[in-house]
Structures are given as structure tokens and as C-alpha cells.
Amino acid sequence: MKWVKRSFLSILSVVLLAGLLVACTDDEGSSDDDGNWTGTITIWDGPRWPDEDDNKYHWLEAKAAEYEEENEGIEIEIVQVPWAEMGDKLGVSIAGQSWPDIAPVDISGSAVSIDHIEQGVIESVDDLFTDEELDDFYENSLEAYTFNDQLYGIPNSITVHSMLLNLDLFEEQGVEPPADGKWTWDEFLNTAQELTFDRDGDGETDVYGFSTYILEGYYEAWPFFYKDGGQPLSDDLSEFTFNSPEAVKAIQDLADLKHEHDAAPETLGGNDVGGTFQAWANEEQRTVAMQPWATWAIQSAQSEYPTNFMVAEYPIGERSEHVTIGGVGGWIMFSQDSDGKREAVGDFMKYLSTTEEQYTMATEYGIFPARKSSADMDPYAENEQMARAQEMTSDVVMLPRHPEWKKIDEIIQGKLQTVFNGEKTAQEAMDEAQELVNDLLE
């Protein structure tokens, strides 16, 4: 019995020691005699476009292999993370201080935020580019990653929201779509009403002109709220301004598509993202003629749900210029302990963000490049709808970059839901939101 006890204790000790050693191992690497850093760079990425073997990480694997070959002693470790889990996993990794070296992050609405920059979790990449190099990036894409005049990420892509119009339904009702996809609010309202119809004559509406949803973290409906000059927070982020007359009017206008004009279904302003898209794109439904969506929906309507559609701008109101909400995706570098590694990580990030790589991403993965030179290569020359959406990237306004934005967003979207379900007017809801948001802004 004694030997059993001894063996058990020995094995337990070895396991615990091994665990301790593994836990204490750092991957900071080392520098050789020439001062070149050697070691492992860990990068997280989500699935992108597939190769012939259906490998959706082949692009990054190829770039990593190329980089390793050019830089002896540097190893790139790729961690595959599904996009749906990226935010949560990054959040948990930050909380546990076990972050990767590089990750793809849309800093405006993800687990990584301005707050983390303030806490020193994210490295500045200001010294990676010369001013001339920075001129090649769209200004709004750089703004998204700039905090206290420092750049905290390399913009890789810009996403936009645009209106998708089902042309079959336009044709069925004999309605002309807007010329060049540009229109005023009144024209949009008329079109939505004309596209609302009872197909089979049973007295019930079969197709509605317009629909969208309202949900925390989603902004498809929001460009409508900007149409008359409204915006959620003042420019200096000190005041809630979505209860201004111009914002309230715009919110009520959109809600009244359902409440007053019957041009939108009861589900307008609900929280069912998938159901809303299916109502527009699924051949078996097609019960809504116009919906606003982010870029992914264009590709989906070109492939998974083949639809005869056009891309249009959001209607213009008192503001008299088109505005859409967008996001910027890019690579960010997490806090590094050694200067050598910081330099190597930055170099690899740059390697992934060249004009050619952003062009490849655009043509293969369907993003809008953040580099002007990549956009100039005309990646969507043969894709009319994507090309039209790409034109809107210059009209993109970013969401307010307040450290408490997620909480502010939750309050606003919650109150917006009550406007769209008819429980409150836009004025009442936004006044209530003001009280709650101002507490966070103080």
C-alpha cells in the first residue's frame, strides 16, 4: 500500500510542477547578437474566404509562412477564433491578462475599447508609419483608431450600412427605384407606401415597403436618425443630444412608417435580426421591399440568397447630405513587455496591411479597403452593388467613442424599442434616455 501512496504523491508532484512551469513560461523571446528579436508572435483571426480545401485561414497561414521565411527565428502562431466568439474571447483574455500579440478588432464596437487604451492594454502603433504612409489611409478609418493623437491600430477595412432594394417588388408594383440610389425622405416615404400592397386581394397586406430592427450593438436604423442633423451625443461627448428636435423628428418619422403610414410591418423595430433579413432576402418570404443592412448582406444577396436588388443611399432629410454609420476593422497590438518584440509584432502587422493585401481582402473577402491605394485598384470593378456601397465609405460617420458607449447604446436602443412598439413617443423615450445617459456622461 505504501508504494501506491508514494507513486501517487510522486505523480501528483510531477504534474503540479509541470503545470507550474507551463504557467510560468513566457513567450517574450530573446534578441540575438545583432539585436534582432526571435520568438513567437501569437495572432488571433477569424475565418475568411475558403481555399479549395475549404480552409478559411489559408490567407493568414500563407502570410505567416512567408514572414517566417523572411525573418529567421520568428515563429507566427495562429489561433483560429470564430468571429461570433471573438469579442467574448478577447474580453476574457484581457481580463485574465493572457491576450494575444495581434488581433483583428473593430475598436468602435467590440470587446476592446477606448477604456483598454487608457488601461495600457493596447500598444500605440504611431511609430509604424510615416506621415506620407498615413496619407494613404482614409481619414475616418484613422480617426477610429486614434486616441489622444496616438494611433492604436492599423485600419484594414471600412464597413458601411446601405439600403438594399428588392427590384422585383419595385417592378411588380411599377415603382421606379431612386436614380443613382439617391433620394429625399419624402421620396422614400412615397416609395415605401407604394410598395406596401395586398398581393392576393384577401384584405391583408402581403408586402411592406420597409422594415428594420432595433437592437443593442446594431445600427442599421441609425442613419435615418441622423437625416435631419441629429446625433446621439454632442461633439465633445458631454451631452446627450438624441432628444434634440431634429433627432426626435427623425426617429418619429421612421417609427411612423408603421404607426401612421402602415408602410412597415408590426415587427419594425423588433429585435429579430435573422427574421428581418429573411423577410427581405428569402425567396419563400420576400415580404419587405427595402431594408438597410451592413455590407455582408450584399454578398449574401449575391450568393446565398440570390436576389435582384440594388444598393441605395439612406434618404436625405434636413441635413441635405447623405450620412451612413460605419465601422472600421483593423489589426491591433496588445501590450508588449519587450521593445524587440514590439518592433517585430508591428512589422508583421504592417506586413498584413499593405496595399496589395487590402486589395486581396477586398476582392476575396468582400471588405472595403481602408487604404486609398487599394481602393484605387478598383476591387469591385465587376461588382456593381459592392462598388456602389464602396462609394459610400466617404459618407461614413463613426459612433461616438465614449468609454461608456456600450451602456449608453443599451439605454438608447432600449428606449428606441419603446418608440417602435408604440409604447412611447420619440420625445418621451429620448427624454427618458437623456436622464439615464447623462448620469454616464458625468
Partner: protein, 318 residues
């Protein structure tokens, strides 16, 4: 009389059964002695104990410590009771508490009573029928709540959901079940009530089997009908099971989460926000782990208080 006297004198009171008071050092020595004597048993317990300590005990203690800190990546700061003050000042927490309390107050009694009634109806059936119903009512318990929530989300769908379809037969206008503040929480409560409480039914059936038939026979001789027997024999003798089930389902109801995240996300406008969903958001959306820990501790205390009250009330005349 003599017999009674003898009986009384030989009755041992609870007080007499208490072990004699021993100095603590002696008790400690006894524990070590005991452990040494049975070390092989403790060795077998060790793996489970290590896992329990690592994944249950340590996180619980750590959450308590965290609740007095402001969590920051580069080092947390001790802030005393500030997180607890924030919890009680928070309107969101109060809304979540109110919603959770309402959810619990309706679903727990409904589930317990329905489980008792269903078990009582199944119990007299033959073996084959009993097994069939036992399995049928237990099935939802082994089904993932994610799947159940998805199905119910479809049933509540405004355009083509089952409920609105049924309302349509009677000429009643469709209801935006999950989209209206006035109906969303009740929609979730109805869902919870209509999912059979499988564990409760199985436990009641097992407990009913343990009730002696002679009691029912005696009651029959005394002229008691089925309902009287149910009220005066079955229900009182099932009290320990009821106590266990009430505690179990109260704790479960206070921790309602999956339905919320799958069906409403706490909306519209916080109408279905519950405590655990709020804690999840505070921790993993806002990354305010100190505040989330304080909310968890408060939830723990609420559950503890409710459990003690229920325990005392239901155990009163045992």
C-alpha cells in the same frame, strides 16, 4: 402507569445525545488522527477536493474579494463597499430584481403545484402507462434550454408563430409577444410554466411510492374520499419532497438566464432583464468584474435568505 414511568425514564432526550464538550486542541488532534487512520479514503477524495477547491471554492472566495475592488487590467484597487452601494443605487439592478422576483413568484408555485398534480394523476396508472408519462414529462429536462428557447421564440413569432395563429382563429389580433414591454416578461413566464417540471414529477412519484398504503386504507375505512386523502395524507407526507423542490426551483428561477439571452436579450427596454443576465452583462460586456462580483454576492444573499425562510416555513411542523 408503571410502564409509562419506565418509558419516560428511559427516553433519551436530544440534549443527552450531544457529544461531551472537548477542548478544541483535542478535537483537532482527533481529526488528524482520524485522517491519518483513513488516509487511503482521503486520497481517493483528493482529486475531487482539488477540483472543487480550484473551480468552486476558490472562484467563490475570489468573487467575494473582487466585490470590494474596482477591477482594472493593470491592477485592481480596493474600494470598500462602493460596488455594493452602486448595486443598490442602480436602477437596472432594481428592475432586474423586480423582474426576477415576479418570474420566481409565478413560476415556482405553478411548477410545484403542476408537478404534484401531474404526479398524482400518473401514480395510480399501470406500470407501462406510468413509465410512458414519466419519460414524456422528463424529456424537456434533458433537452437543452437553448433548443427549447428557439422553439418558443418561433411560437411567439409575430408573423407566423403558433400563438398568433391560434389567436387568429378566434379573430383576435396578433400580439407582439416578445416585442412589447407589457407582454415580454409574461411571455417568458408562460413559457417557463408550460415546460413540464420533469424533476419534480419524478421526485413526487418516487415519494408517493414510499407512502404506506395502510394510511389510505385506514382513511377509506373512516370514509375519506380521494380528494380528502390527497389533501390530508398525500400532501402532508410529501412535504420533505416539496421543501426540496421549492428550494431547487427557487434557486433555478433566481438564476434564469438562457431563455433571456436567447429570446429577448433583456429587452425591450429592460422589460425582461433578470439578475443573472445583468451580472453577465456587467462582467462580460462592460468588464466591470468588481461590480459584477458585488451583484453576484447580493444575489447569493437573496437566494440564501429566501432558502432559509422557505426551509423554516416548510419544515415547521416536521
Amino acid at each position: 402507569m408503571e410502564g409509562n414511568k419506565t418509558l419516560a425514564s428511559t427516553t433519551v432526550s436530544n440534549r443527552d445525545l450531544k457529544p461531551p464538550n472537548k477542548p478544541i486542541y483535542q478535537m483537532k488532534r482527533n481529526i488528524w488522527k482520524e485522517m491519518k487512520k483513513n488516509y487511503s479514503s482521503y486520497l481517493f477524495l483528493l482529486p475531487k477536493l482539488v477540483l472543487f477547491s480550484l473551480f468552486i471554492a476558490f472562484p467563490v472566495v475570489w468573487a467575494l474579494v473582487l466585490s470590494f475592488q474596482e477591477y482594472r487590467v493593470n491592477g485592481s484597487i480596493f474600494i470598500g463597499l462602493d460596488n455594493y452601494i452602486s448595486v443598490f443605487k442602480s436602477e437596472a439592478f432594481m428592475i432586474a430584481l423586480k423582474n426576477t422576483a415576479l418570474f420566481t413568484a409565478v413560476t415556482v408555485p405553478f411548477n410545484i403545484i403542476s408537478a404534484l398534480v401531474v404526479a398524482s394523476l400518473i401514480f395510480p396508472l399501470g406500470k407501462i402507462s406510468q413509465n410512458f408519462f414519466r419519460s414524456a414529462f422528463y424529456l424537456p429536462t434533458v433537452t437543452s434550454m437553448v433548443i427549447i428557447a428557439m422553439v418558443w421564440r418561433w411560437m411567439y413569432n409575430y408573423d407566423f408563430g403558433l400563438f398568433n395563429h391560434i389567436l387568429g382563429w378566434f379573430g383576435i389580433e396578433s400580439i407582439n409577444w416578445l416585442g412589447q414591454s407589457s407582454t415580454a416578461l409574461w411571455a417568458l413566464i408562460i413559457m417557463q410554466c408550460l415546460i413540464p417540471f420533469g424533476v419534480g414529477i419524478i421526485m413526487y412519484l418516487a415519494s408517493m411510492g414510499a407512502i404506506s398504503n395502510t394510511l389510505y386504507e385506514a382513511a377509506t375505512i373512516d370514509g375519506a374520499g380521494a380528494i380528502k386523502k390527497w389533501f390530508y395524507i398525500t400532501i402532508p407526507l410529501l412535504k420533505p419532497t416539496t421543501l426540496y423542490l421549492v428550494l431547487l426551483s427557487t434557486i433555478g428561477s433566481f438564476q434564469v438566464f438562457t431563455q433571456i439571452i436567447m429570446m429577448t436579450g433583456g429587452g425591450p427596454d429592460n422589460a425582461t432583464e433578470t439578475l443573472v443576465h445583468l451580472i453577465y452583462k456587467t462582467g462580460f460586456r462592460d468588464f466591470e468584474f468588481g461590480l459584477a462580483a458585488a451583484q453576484s454576492v447580493v444575489l447569493f444573499l437573496i437566494i440564501l435568505v429566501f432558502s432559509v425562510i422557505q426551509f423554516r416555513m416548510l419544515r415547521h411542523d416536521e
